[in-house]
Symmetry: C2
Subunit: 207 residues, 2 copies
DNA sequence: CGGAAAATTGACGGACCTCAAAATCTGTGG
DNA sequence: CCACAGATTTTGAGGTCCGTCAATTTTCCG
């Protein structure tokens, strides 16, 4: 029942069938839980979310990754989660050669270690942090991802997606955005625009 | 103010200074968050928990690992979490040679991939599962860890530790043990003794 | 400008937490 | 073997943070 844009078979994804480059439009599926896994993807442009689906329409967004990041890591026979493009995205394929010891193998290894670190952060937030602490942690992670200190940024995802990343209801996310704004820690602009007014206060709240 | 048994410097841990084997008593610290990380440990006997500490005495137990498992994976300059022995435990040290392509490197790689898979399971449980679903998921993981299908098992951890693993209060854990018992899914014996009466029902609840 | 989508805000309820007491288990000594 | 004390687990009562449902406001975009 879904329109073709969410289907890998007939979208931009295979525009370069003989190349190791692939392009996706917003909401395009990159890979699906249970699918045979062969490759690792490097994000050249755009953004991707990695998620698990549960019964009852529930979902957990495990990662929100931008340019420079790898996805599809650590799959053995099949993927244990799905990946969806958040906007126009181009990926480079890397055959998952675990025995590659050269510079490419080293950067994959580093990416795998970062993945574990991020998942530990996420599990700690989901298990033992309050809603406000989770939101602050999320914003700090975005801040750190973006290299230097871009006090002003564009949120890569909307409220429902932040909620499914932080294990909250979207209304709770909205309420805590407001709470942080009232404390003058952030400033909320039009649409996805957001300014971190007080990064150190944000980090302190994030704990 | 703590007795020496919780201190790495003066416990059994360095009984074999020139060997790659180390022994720990229950509650001994194996490594601590922030500590320089050099090696990976293979659990030969015993059990270990890996955890993060937060402000306010909160903690998140990220992993509960038994014999055959590796811990200390994915540390770069320093460990990003701590590890504590749950009982008498012996570990073998592996220098973390990421460029090892041989059989040892392959088994480390497999362990790293398993680690990521487990962390994704945990994050999904903590973010989007109910208390009963989390407890069922925990018991299913123990069941699968233990190889075949040992319908009868010994819980490696007590109620407070299960609570800090599942992001719940210990009373909530206890109440949900009772709930599963009332549904005839499990049977609770003396001490840490526990019997899985209906594994498939347990898996269904775990979702 | 105008309709639809997204975000915010409000009221209320529920799942889980906190505090507290009772029950059970463990280990020690008589 | 039993008694007793401490620790662990279970059970109970009440409170709170967050979820659900719903209305309003703001933003998006043709």
């Amino acid at each position: 029942m879904n329109e073709s844009s969410t289907n890998r078979q007939d979208c931009d994804a295979i525009r370069f069938p003989t190349s190791d480059l692939r392009r996706y439009a917003a909401r395009d599926s990159i890979f699906v839980e249970g699918e045979a896994s062969t490759d690792v993807f490097e994000i050249l442009q755009g953004a991707v979310m990695v998620l698990r689906n549960l019964s009852g329409g529930r979902r957990q967004i495990l990662d929100i990754a931008g340019a420079g990041r790898f996805i599809g890591l650590a799959a053995r026979a099949t993927h244990d989660c799905s990946a969806v493009a958040l906007k126009e995205t181009s990926l480079r394929l890397h055959s998952d050669n675990r025995n590659d010891v050269g510079p490419r193998g080293a950067s994959l290894m580093r990416a795998i270690y970062d993945e574990i670190h991020r998942l530990r952060d996420l599990a700690t937030a989901l298990g033992r942090k309050t809603a406000e602490e989770r939101l602050a942690s999320f914003l700090v992670a975005l801040l750190d991802d973006s290299g230097a200190s871009p006090v002003e940024m564009n949120l890569p995802v909307s409220r429902p997606e932040i909620a499914d990343h932080l294990g909250l209801a979207l209304e709770t996310v909205s309420r805590n955005f407001t709470a942080l704004r009232c404390k003058n820690v952030i400033s909320i602009g039009r649409g996805a625009r957001l300014t971190i007014l007080d990064p150190s206060a944000l980090r302190q709240i994030a704990d």
